[in-house]
Amino acid sequence: MKNDTASSICKVIGASSVGTMIEWYDFYIFGMLAKTISVQFFPEGNTTAALLSTLAIFAAGFIVRPFGALVFGRLGDLIGRKYTFLLTLVLMGGSTFLIGLVPGYKSIGIAAPLLVLLLRLLQGLALGGEYGGAATYVAEHAPTHRRGFFTSWIQTTATLGLFVALGVIMLVKMNMPDEQFNTEWGGWRYPFWFSILLVVVSIYIRMKMHESPLFAKLKSEGKTSANPLRESFRNKANFKMVLLALFGAVMGQGVVWYTGQFYAQSFLETKCTLEFEQSRTVMLWAIAFATPFFLFFGWLSDKIGRKWIMMLGMLLGILTYRPIFGYFLETTQAITKNAEAKISGITEEYTETSTGERIRTHTTVYSLADGSGFREVQRDTLDTGGAVKAAGPVIVAEKHLSSSQYWKFAGLVFLLILYVTMVYGPIAAFLVEIFPTKIRYTSMSLPYHIGNGVFGGLVPFIGLLLTTSFPGDPLVGLWYPIGVAALCLVIGVIYLNNRIDKNVED
């Protein structure tokens, strides 16, 4: 009997987690391939395409995700968890596959970015509905003393989705030249097509699952909510808990999550100008080693409560973000031409622009004594006789870390993701325990997607805003996640309690 229960809960966790991971994979590949996608669908110089591109990036994350939380949360509380998060999976997988089939701007003009925008919005909508369903579904199957541990499997999916997306894109990219990858029907489409295979498998698994026992019981007793949105947000007693969940936990969790998993990667690539392969593999190593800690902190939260683990994760982020990112910057800034620098390769490439000008790209590869290195790239415009008409600036790009620097970077990114595991591991159990079964899906989905989609998703934008306003400090962008996490920490410490709800059946 005990083995049957264990096997049944493993199936519940497996089926929920795989589907949620695939949804994250689908959502991430768009962002990771944004550069190629913008060339294919949103060409520079076309103002309508630029507007659609902006909407695809911002609206999908900020407006549509919370909206999806409301739409699917309501549905999940009305018709059940199982069918709702099956629907979100189909919507997400279908949209991803179709993005991979949309012809480029060159072939169908403005219809291309319009279709991509529409499909991206559908992705955002589906993502808004998925997480709440999966977390609720698992929590409603879990025994009280293991709720944190079981739901923490769902918490690994966002990171694993990122891991799989990074891995698949790297695999495709490493097996073909850049030119072949970036053409209209090139390799960049493979990760989108691959998604349909993952989704079909996941749908098959999820179809075999049963409805959550708590929801099924409510339904059989006729006690489900008639209007989940009204009961969630117009009932003061519940609404005040929605606000507390948002401002005392999820808002800080969102910025810590985004800073560790996305801002770090973008910082390494753009501010530190680290080469593509090293910046990606540093992330992959860090994610691989940190992921088990989602489970550890989920398990620990069953023993000591959810609150203090999440608060400690925020506090560590607040105290160490600037020193860690400062180290990344200092180390890579020190990789520069010095007396020991040796030239290890020179290449010259000639290309022609659409206006008929010839461009010479001169690349010099330098190696330093400690094993690090960098490239100097200069793009000159040539006249018809081959003489330099306009010399371009010398740009230092694609810095390469030495072995010891590389592992220090991986260790520090691991720390950043460890903070993510502290704030994110216990949060599903924390949210599930706050709200009653009949409006749980709706009530927990909205604060989660505002915290992660809006507060977390704004990390790069506010970072850019701060950098533009205060150009003297390259780390100024970090004040946004630090400030939001600090505010959340104060609210969480003072207003939240550390109680583990023994009964989520009510």
Binding site: T54, I57, I63, M241, P436
Partner: protein, 81 residues
């Protein structure tokens, strides 16, 4: 602790409009039709201000509830919700 919760309520009440003020100020300062960055785009600012306004209102309501002592005792079962 309950006195602190109530006192801080005033701070959250003020923080809501302050966030909106800074966002509008940021929009006025950075929107530039000739600019190429995201922060120069009016569409981005419209989306962000539109989505942050209800959140700021939520922070104000949170402050109001805190000030009125609604968070002095948190529900311990769903029957209290």
């Amino acid at each position: 602790m309950n006195a602190l919760k109530k006192a801080l309520g005033v701070l959250w009440l003020i923080a809501g409009p302050a966030v909106i003020f800074f966002l509008v100020q940021g929009a006025v300062e950075h929107i530039d039709p000739k600019g190429t960055k995201d922060i120069n785009s009016p569409v981005v600012w419209i989306i962000i201000i539109a989505i942050f306004t209800p959140i700021a209102l939520g922070l104000m309501i949170f402050g109001w509830y805190a000030l009125r002592g609604e968070y002095d005792h948190l529900p311990e079962s769903s029957s209290e919700i």
